[in-house]
């Protein structure tokens, strides 16, 4: 059996894949994230654990599956955040973000 490699990280160029036209911006995850965080997360900045680039969460790519949302880094396509909602809980996996910075209101 083939050993698991980083195969799933190597993505084809944006535009090739069927999910590409479904791509949304970080904004699309703001509602679900507001069930976990009070300040708006999309105005904050996240550092991608995959490639180290930092950018506004609003500028990340969001794929909404009906099951939940997957937030990916536009540079390396790695998963930065995963959010899912069940009737009683909201689940967040943030291991793809090394850090998240939110500035206070000025």
């Amino acid at each position: 059996m083939k050993k698991a490699t980083n195969q799933s990280r190597k993505r084809s160029v944006a535009g090739d894949r069927p999910v590409d036209s479904l791509r949304l911006d970080g904004n699309a995850a703001a509602g679900m994230l507001s069930e976990i965080f009070v300040p708006d997360l999309t105005a904050g900045r996240a550092k991608c654990a995959g490639c180290g680039t930092t950018r506004s969460i609003g500028a990340l790519h969001v794929y909404s599956h009906g099951m939940g949302m997957v937030v990916r880094c536009p540079a390396c396509d790695g998963v930065v955040l995963r959010v899912a909602r069940t009737p009683t809980r909201v689940w967040l996996d943030a291991r793809g973000a090394i850090s998240i910075v939110i500035s206070g209101e000025n």
């Binding site: 059996m1 083939k2 799933s8 939940g68 998963v79 995963r82 899912a84 009737p87 689940w91 996996d93």
Partner: protein, 92 residues
């Protein structure tokens, strides 16, 4: 564990894949399975909830021990039997 393009994974017991209970689909009608429907190849497990029928499948890894996949580790039921309405973790 089925691993799909995009890093999605889903775990299914071997007994639920064998003896005609599941397919790897790569054609629909006379034509290759289109990408919107999971082509070039997808897993089809009709007796379990839809997220077990992984689209764009790249690899099936046989494991000794069960491990939760992508949605199973984020609040969704580990097995996913629709007859018992096992949609979310904790549903019996």
């Amino acid at each position: 564990m089925a691993r799909s393009d995009g890093g999605y994974t889903t775990n299914v017991p071997l007994a639920d894949l064998t003896n005609g209970k599941a397919w790897i689909a790569f054609n629909y009608g006379d034509a290759p399975l289109p990408p919107e429907h999971g082509g070039p190849a997808r897993l089809l497990v009709p007796h379990l909830y839809f997220w077990k029928s992984a689209k764009w499948v790249r690899e099936l890894r046989f494991m000794e021990n069960d491990t939760p996949g992508f949605w199973e580790s984020l609040g969704y039921h580990n097995y996913g039997d629709p007859w018992r309405e096992q949609r979310y973790a904790g549903d019996e």
